[in-house]
């Protein structure tokens, strides 16, 4: 049985933790929300008071053990309390992505068999009412923000405050309302379902991942121990409540450790709100870290020359020694002094602007982060780490312990997690945190979770020599070269795309003798490089074919090959030949999706000539004619004569030599 971790504990469910916190941290802030211009705060005791009133009110309205209750809205304290209120009654909260359209949401609500819904505002009420027309299982819709809703007279429509009012009246009038409620909490155990989270799979309908109280509890306790998190942490809740990460970071871990969760005023004000609060424990997907850097670079472009010079000088210095200082490695006194000066002039103010000055631990996960970006933050002294997690694992699978940080890996198994790599290269894990089942979907459950509790992650990866897991690709995308070498296209493409000059890359190799690649240059980056270096060009095509550009891209590819050579399992997948495409892969031509995902089949077909040329070692240049759609919708053709470059491939020894030389 999973969840042995907290068995026998008096605090095996989150409502029980709330009772504990309301005593242990009675006067400590549990939640804050930027509302009406200031941070409205609730102590743990107040959260208990609010949650209790709501729970008893909900009970009175008929919410029973096992019922499902949807929660729809932005991150709001009242919605988090609703989770606990539902759990206290043994009901199952089902947070739903607030921006999904009525049809999508309707599927989830119907699938989950939702009876109650607690929603944020009029917008969501309208959606729920629309859903109710086809799915009449929703008996009660409870809304937080009353604005615009006073004329709604539909049955079962209640305001959050009025439900709480019912609860408060009962508490005041009958002596045993509270006792009955406490009894309900005591009935709860670790085996109860804590929450159902719908994952939007890449294909098909969303699946409802059922997580038990003990799974969530294990995750919360493991993560808190991993980074020594205490009740003193401040975090900000801004990622969707329906996402497992937010549920664990902003709810489970907070209840387990007693730390304070802050809700921003609006999605647009997250940066400013984070700065005000000064989060100590932070999480963000790579995109957000990237955006901060872009913002920094753009802003610094407009700074005065002296400031610019100062900025670059100190940033270079940080790149040199910042990471080592953070990792407590030996650094010379002079360098340390210069870093201190930099801290005052640049790093400190930068962290201040980012709102990350007080961060003890910051995480990135979800996708691969560019090594440059990762190191940038660490060189500023921000303890940015990576973790690997999934909804099915209640987030935590691996994480980077302090002092064992690397841009390329996702760290070691956390706590009681066991990991094995299947023969196919797929990562499999087992932990007390794994999910119970996919709701009403035994087939998928069976496919994903083995009888003895191992879960197929769907990701391909391997352990490096330090025992750190490295995720390379989706397992189903990993192919094989003819000699049996593993070929992870996305892994190679990502490595290429981390260079700012490379906008898009497409790697080929499955069922072939060696790996080749198409490369798309980034017009902005390469264009500005061209401007700085007086490279004259008239068109994208001319720039893409420019010998200097080829030289530059060749250096990047060479670098990627070196890196690959250092990694045992993918060393054979070095790029043997590449070319720079004469046109940009364009969503208008259907070559990539609007979200910038490459459409491989279409490319295989369109650029067959080029692919064939890549696999014919005698061809050094290849002519091609492609149809294109112009911005005004007209269609035309571009002709190109594309050069193909052969690359040097490295053996393991070359890499060792290089590392020694550094």
């Amino acid at each position: 049985m999973p969840g042995g971790a907290s068995q026998g504990s008096a605090h095996d469910t989150f409502p029980k933790l709330l009772l504990r916190n309301a005593q242990k941290f009675a006067a400590r802030a549990a939640m804050r929300e930027k509302d009406l211009g200031i941070w409205q705060s609730w102590t743990w005791a107040q959260v208990l008071d609010e949650g209790r009133a709501l729970a008893i009110g909900l009970k009175e309205l008929g919410l029973k053990r096992g019922d499902r209750m949807a929660i729809v809205g932005d991150n709001r304290p009242r919605l988090y309390w609703a989770i606990c209120a539902a759990q206290s009654l043994g009901a199952i909260p089902v947070p739903v992505y607030q921006d999904s359209v009525a049809e999508e949401m309707g599927y989830v609500l119907e699938h989950a068999g939702v009876k109650f819904a607690i929603v944020e505002n009029q917008e969501q009420v309208d959606k729920l009412l629309e859903i109710r027309e086809s799915y009449d299982g929703i008996k009660h819709i409870i809304y937080d923000d009353e604005r615009g809703l006073n004329h709604y007279s539909q049955a079962g429509l209640e305001s959050y405050a009025s439900v709480q009012e019912i609860g408060r009246k009962l508490l005041a009038s009958s002596g045993d309302a509270e006792k009955l409620w406490l009894d309900e909490i005591n009935k709860g155990s670790g085996d109860d379902t804590a929450i159902m989270l719908y994952t939007s799979g890449t294909t098909g309908r969303p699946k409802g991942v059922v997580l038990s109280q003990s799974a969530c509890m294990w995750a919360a306790e493991t993560a808190n121990q991993f980074d020594n998190l205490t009740e003193k942490e401040e975090t900000i809740a801004y990622l969707p409540m329906a996402w497992v990460g937010d549920h664990v970071f902003s709810y489970a871990q907070s209840y387990a450790s007693g730390y304070c969760v802050n809700c921003p005023e609006s999605p647009e004000t997250v940066i400013a709100d984070r700065r005000e609060i000064g989060t100590t424990y932070a999480f963000a997907p790579p995109r957000i870290y990237e955006n901060l850097i872009t913002m920094t670079i753009v802003a610094m472009e407009d700074a005065s020359p002296i400031k610019k010079k100062m900025f670059h000088t100190f940033m270079n210095h940080a790149r040199k020694v910042g990471g080592d200082i953070l990792d407590r490695k030996p650094v010379g006194v002079l360098d340390r002094l210069k870093y201190l000066l930099g801290e005052f002039l640049v790093y400190g103010p930068l962290k201040n602007r980012y709102g990350l000055s007080k961060v003890r631990v910051a995480y990135t996960a979800g996708e691969a982060i560019g090594p440059e970006i990762f190191r940038f933050y660490r060189s500023l002294g921000i303890n940015l780490k990576q973790l690997y997690g999934q909804t099915e694992a209640a987030v935590y699978i691996t994480g980077q312990p302090d002092g064992e940080i690397s841009a390329e890996t996702v760290g070691k198994p956390m706590g009681k997690v066991e990991i094995k790599i299947a023969d196919s290269g797929e990562v499999m894990y087992r932990s007390p945190g794994v999910f119970t089942e996919y709701y009403k979907n035994p087939d998928s459950t069976k496919e994903t979770k083995t009888k003895d509790g191992w879960v197929h992650s769907g990701d391909a990866g391997f352990f490096d020599e330090h025992g750190h897991l490295k995720i390379i690709d989706r397992a189903k995308d990993v192919g094989k070269l003819n000699d049996g070498t593993m070929f992870p296209p996305k892994y190679i493409e990502n490595k290429l795309k981390f260079y700012p000059n490379i906008k898009e890359a497409v790697a080929f190799g499955h069922g072939r003798d060696f790996v080749t690649a198409f490369i798309n240059i980034d017009l902005t980056a390469v264009g500005s490089w061209a401007e700085r270096n007086n490279v004259v060009y008239a068109s994208y095509q001319e720039l893409a074919g420019h010998p200097e550009v080829y030289k530059m891209i060749e250096a990047h590819v060479n670098e990627v090959n070196r890196e690959l050579a250092g990694e045992e399992r993918v060393a054979g997948a070095q790029i043997a030949r590449f070319l720079i495409l004469h046109k940009e892969l364009d969503p208008d031509d259907g070559e990539i999706t609007r979200t910038a995902k490459v459409r491989r089949s279409l490319i295989n077909e369109r650029y067959a000539v080029l692919i064939d040329a890549l696999y014919d070692p005698s061809v050094k240049r290849q002519k091609i004619k492609t149809e294109v759609t112009f911005e005004d919708g007209r269609r035309g053709a571009i002709e190109g004569n594309v050069e193909i470059r052969d690359m040097k491939r490295y053996g393991a020894g070359d890499v060792a030599f290089r590392e020694a030389a550094e």
Binding site: G37, W39, S41, M300, S304, K307, F344, K358
Partner: protein
């Protein structure tokens, strides 16, 4: 650069609306107050205290007074000097009648007399604005100057036509005013009053009354349609403004000059205060201090500079250069930064807060 605002969040409107919401500003003001109250009196020379700090503080207070009227309420006044005179003469008469009352109380009480006079001359502001109003304040200036000369009762029928500050003791037997008062004592008295009154001014300005002044200044018609009674708003501005000027005038005579005649309150002084307000920044309390420091200390530097380089320039020339410089600076500021030094300071502060970025 120095600002680290991470983690400074407000959980109440009270904290959000405090004078210095940013921690670093609170530290800064604490340091300034410490230097002003402890370091300067302990280490400042008599010359520095009497000839630089005391007049600077008094001028700053007068400029705050003018700023309340001109900067915050938008009513141009050219009669600041005369309103200060009213305070000075009132204080002189009060202390003549009640020699045993603490002179500080008398200084503060004298403000009420100038406030009353200010309100009388403020009455036309209900019907006129802009430089029309400036003319009525000129009327006040000249009429009051005439009073100071002709009504010899005001200076106790002194033959010299001047008022001379008698010796006054307070808080036990500390000499507060008169020839025997030490510069440090006088400095501390002036400083305390200025700090207290600046704090009060900032309170008023941030509250309902201050807002109604600014409403009148920015758009009097809209203000009236929002329920502001122009009579109350304007007259209260005249009263408060004149009160400040009156107290500054009384302090000028009692804690700085020691004796004064009508020349101390003439129209040229009125202009000087206007310049302090403009260069410092209309509608800014910090600016009032900056403007006063600028106009008062610049000439001192101009006088001192040639000496340090061993050049001999006669005093009259220095005076003339000073006039040209001040006139030039006024035009310069009106053209380049009509909001004065205060705005420059604000911009600098904003830069420091967004450092290293050039903007937010």
């Amino acid at each position: 650069m120095f600002y680290r605002e991470v983690g400074q969040f407000k959980t109440s409107y009270k904290a959000d609306q405090s004078i210095f919401p940013i921690l670093q500003d609170r530290i800064g003001i604490a340091v300034i107050l410490f230097v002003a109250f402890a370091i300067i009196p302990a280490f400042g020379s008599d010359f520095f205290l009497s000839s630089i700090m005391i007049p600077f503080l008094i001028f700053a207070l007068a400029t705050i007074g003018l700023n309340i009227l001109t900067g915050y309420t938008g009513q141009l006044s050219l009669g600041t000097g005369a309103f200060m005179g009213v305070g000075a003469y009132a204080c002189y008469k009060l202390t003549t009648f009640f020699p045993d009352v603490n002179i500080i109380i008398m200084v503060l009480l004298s403000g009420f007399f100038s406030a009353a006079v200010g309100m009388i001359f403020g009455l036309p502001s209900l019907r006129i604005k802009g430089f029309y109003l400036a003319v009525t304040t000129l009327a006040a200036q000249f009429f009051l100057e005439w009073c100071f000369i002709r009504i010899s009762w005001l200076y106790n029928y002194n033959n010299s036509g001047a008022i001379e500050v008698p010796r006054r003791e307070g808080f036990g037997d500390i000499v507060l005013a008169g020839a025997a008062a030490t510069p440090a004592t006088r400095y501390l008295v002036v400083l305390s009053i200025v700090v207290l009154m600046t704090w009060i001014a900032s309170n008023i300005i941030r509250g309902r009354i201050g807002r109604s002044w600014m409403m009148i200044r920015d758009m009097d018609i809209a203000a009236e349609l929002m329920g502001v009674r122009p009579l109350y708003a304007k007259l209260s501005a005249f009263a408060v403004s004149s009160f400040y000027c009156g107290v500054a005038g009384a302090m000028m005579v009692f804690f700085w000059l020691g004796a004064a005649e009508v020349e101390s309150f003439d129209i040229n002084h009125s202009f000087l205060y206007l310049f302090m307000a403009i260069i410092g920044g209309l509608g800014s309390l910090v600016g009032s201090f900056m403007g006063a420091a600028f106009i008062w200390i610049l000439p001192i530097i101009i006088r001192a500079l040639p000496e340090t380089f061993g050049i001999d320039i006669n005093a009259a020339t220095v005076e003339h250069i000073n006039f040209m410089l001040i006139g030039g600076m006024i035009i310069f500021f009106l053209i380049v930064e009509p909001h004065g030094l205060a705005r420059l300071w604000q911009i600098a502060k904003e830069k420091l807060r967004t450092w290293p970025f050039p903007y937010t």
